[in-house]
Symmetry: C2
Subunit: 139 residues, 2 copies
Amino acid sequence: MRLDEAEARARLAAHDHGVLCTVHPERGVDAVPVVFAIHPDGFVGVPVDLVKPKASLQLQRERNLAADPRATLLVDHWNRDDWSQLWWVRAKLEWCPDDPRRADELADLLVARYPQYADRPFANMLVMRIVGITAWSAR
Amino acid sequence: MRLDEAEARARLAAHDHGVLCTVHPERGVDAVPVVFAIHPDGFVGVPVDLVKPKASLQLQRERNLAADPRATLLVDHWNRDDWSQLWWVRAKLEWCPDDPRRADELADLLVARYPQYADRPFANMLVMRIVGITAWSAR
């Protein structure tokens, strides 16, 4: 049921989208679907991009992280018919706002991963360090 | 980009799984994949079931809600290749711990929705009221 850390990290790195949760001072939790890349040093990059339309590029998730640097990234595998296939990985993250070198390396990884990012349409990059990981599998 | 509330509620009710986020006093956010049912009165039922294996039936999500009744349920539609298809709905929830009639009605809805629940294998039912809803679509 519990997956070990190496397996959890491998599944997280291979998954192509997840849910990023941050803490909002009044609302409690904000959660939003994201794409991401994992840096071999144990960092996660979540782009603020110009591909998916947004009302503003100064996103609430960044304001939340400035007030509270803790975040959670969850990836899960769903199968409506066969629940023995279910699994999920949850990474506890800490925002690292001043790491331009890693932000650039994570941008490269995102370009390699998603063809939509071929032209590097990044307005910003959230760099977060993995500080803990938990994973569950139905079998 | 923003979807109106009626459309948001329709998509939420039709989706078959989501991510439930609660506030942990020290860790910040806890997030876990869940199945759910929507009551016509605007309540969400998330079962604690005996189908998916668990280390304990006294789940952290319930302890979190007892300390802070705010929760968030996010459903999202992902398409790796065509990002014009993306959408998500986020419901802000408030835990209603003492509503056995609604818990029972939500159990019926879950049985109707998921064949895995035909034998009503519910150890508990989290009943939460929808207090706000936000939704986004790429087009």
